[in-house]
Amino acid sequence: MHNLLLLLMLLGWLDQPIIRNNEPNPVYRVGDNPAWATKNYADGDWSPHRGNTADRIFWSRTQLDLREVKKELLPLGLQIESFGAFEVYWDGVLIGKNGQVPNNGKLEIPGTENSYYPIPDSLTKAGPHTVALRSSQSFLPGVQRSIGFGIYNYAAMISRPLVTMSYMNIMAGAFLTAALYYFFLYLNSSRRQADILVFSTICLLFFATLVMEYLKFHVVIPYSQFFIRLEIIGWLTFANALLVPWYFIIQFNFRKGTWLMSILLLSLLLLYVINYRHYDLTARLYSLAMLVAAFIVVAKGTMQREKGGFIVLAGLLSSALVNNYIVYDYGLFISFTIIVLCMLYLHSIRTSFIEAEHQNAVVLSSRLKLELLKKNIQPHFLRNTLTSMMDWVEESPKEGSRFIQALAAEFDIMNEISEMTLIPIGKELELCRQHLSVMGFRKEINYSFETINIDEAQLIPPAIIHTLLENGITHSAPLPGNTVKFILLYTLTKEMHSYIFQTIAENQQHLSNRTGGNGFKYIRARLTESYGANWAFDSSATGKGWQSTIQIYRR
């Protein structure tokens, strides 16, 4: 907001230029003559073009028409944006130098592109004035750049870059902090998420862009090196124009991301080639391409009802408006700041979402742990087992003690696995066998359990086969011969691990329909806990009894 105010202030101030003629046009002449500095020298035959001056000395003369200036604005200063080394003559008076023109066989010392000179108060009357430059452009002699002039209050002119820079540095500092913070966050996160790294890089690149943009205010860059900085800014903008849409592609789960990124990359390269050396224009077009790509992604995301879509869409729109209506230098930074704010907002949404998800996972895990422990102490299991046990002890103490041992063994395994989220299938089968042994004493049915093709090393969530077994026992009546048979078949394919659990028995008739109940809920929750969405579970009656299938997809 401050930047915007500052900007409007500056724009307002610039609106009333002291130079009245809109585009002062310099005229040139190769050669060297001190008389060419005088205010009223007749330069009618001079050329409007400099031509290639090689390492020769040339003069330029420009008429500036000053308006009446209030006393408060004095002293005035002259700003010159020009390549080369030169001496500046204001109405014939030498007011300053930029670099050093070749002199007595010494080579040129290049000046800097932007320089400031105080104008003597006595020479600031309203009316025409002449700026004569005794120049050379030994470096980059072929580069034709017009000469830019500005006249302002000298003190304001000198301090203005500092004021601008102080605001821009606040922004740059914020971006640097964000870049570092998110980079450390990425490094120290157990799940290294690409979007965090992308965001950190964007912040860092933008910090670098800001530093490069305003480097001109604190480092004197010889005009011969002028384009290096622009080239660097160009490539930084290029990189960000790629990264910003990429970030949104990740955040909004944009499906054709690769396509969009390829098209964007091609467009950016094309823009670079077509507008080669038109640095400001290129940067503007880059950010336009970036906005278009980001807009496509965010609009799609909004349609997919991704969280934060609307806000980011609004942010992009306002960013585009700013980019369009405000001078490039500031416009780019303000529009970019808006985009980064959008990203931060998205990130905070995402973080809180992940936090909630994590909380849920923790709660789910502890709930499942409890549920597993409860299996053996819930009254229906425990009290029925104890009742049978009483009977066995009373009738046949020897069998009774075997029964007690089987129960103890089942408890031991339960205890062992209760803290785990995945256990070897071998352990699970051991648990199942102990359970069958206990249930055999209770129900006095001949249970058998056959396993086919089991890979003992495979891991599965604890007690899910056990749960299927419990269901099979509860809901089955024995076949003639008093038998109930269970079969567990494992198959491994390229796509998945699959466990098929069959109960071969008579299905019990029930008063109400079987809905699967808590046992199935437990199995589903356990599968989700360990495999996310990469599983399938199905359970239904068959001609021979019941069949349940668990499929775990391999990634």
Partner: protein
């Protein structure tokens, strides 16, 4: 005497059977075991038992529906269950006893004793009487009952709102279930003492009871003395 055991665990069913036969050993008792609720209900439809020993998973989907059906039926039900936290509710519905698993002989015999000996009352707070009308079971609050009138193998429940409901249980079975506030004043009447206005003495040593509802019920001669002693 017909006794039905509904219990899906073979070992426990045999235990119940053994103890039942042992308790009723000197009486001719026919004990049947059904290993699922469905089979049990089918059996009851054909042979109404005198006593039902029911293993009911009251935490299951329709545990209480089945319980309502059973307590509305013309026989006593003893629940033998692992869901001991549901005992109070089961008593409120009007089961004769709730035997928690695991049980031993003493506890089961205590329940049987209550069954064969009407003098031993249940103190466990029955709150409702379940009546079956047109296949639907409805629960009637005990507090709404003014008096119960025996009508052969059925009973009529006379309610505060003036309505009457038929109950499938006999006077004797209901009397075993009803709480202390209900008193047998006549071979055909069981009255909620809270609803009594006063006892009337009529000429010829005939006694009757005026209820708050304005109804007058006969009082048996022996019952009068009992009541008089109680109130004196």
């Amino acid at each position: 005497m017909n006794i039905l055991i509904i219990e899906d665990e073979a070992r426990i069913a045999r235990r119940l059977h053994r103890m039942t036969v042992q308790f009723f050993g000197n009486k001719p008792a026919e004990v049947t075991i059904c290993d699922s609720l469905k089979k049990g209900l089918d059996h009851i439809a054909g042979h109404v038992p005198n006593l039902l020993l029911l293993d009911l998973n009251l935490n299951g989907d329709n545990g209480f529906e089945v319980l309502e059906q059973m307590v509305a039926a013309p026989f006593h039900t003893i629940i033998v269950s692992a869901n001991i936290d549901k005992a109070i509710t089961a008593f409120a519905y009007g089961v004769l006893d709730f035997v928690p698993k695991p049980f031993n002989e003493d506890r089961l015999f205590q329940a049987f004793t209550r069954f064969i000996n009407p003098a031993v009352k249940s103190n466990e707070g029955i709150k409702y009487l379940a009546v079956k009308t047109a296949g639907q079971v409805r629960l009637i609050s005990i507090d709404d009952v003014v008096y119960i009138k025996g009508a052969g193998i059925y009973t009529e429940l006379h309610l505060k709102n003036g309505k009457q409901e038929l109950h499938d249980k006999s006077m004797e079975l209901l009397q075993q279930l009803m709480p202390d506030g209900f008193e047998r004043i006549h071979k055909s009447y069981l009255v909620n003492l809270g609803q009594v206005e006063k006892i009337l003495v009529n000429p010829g040593s005939r006694y009757s009871m005026l209820l708050k509802t304005g109804e007058v019920l006969p009082v048996g001669r022996s019952k009068y003395k009992e009541l008089k002693n109680r109130t004196a």
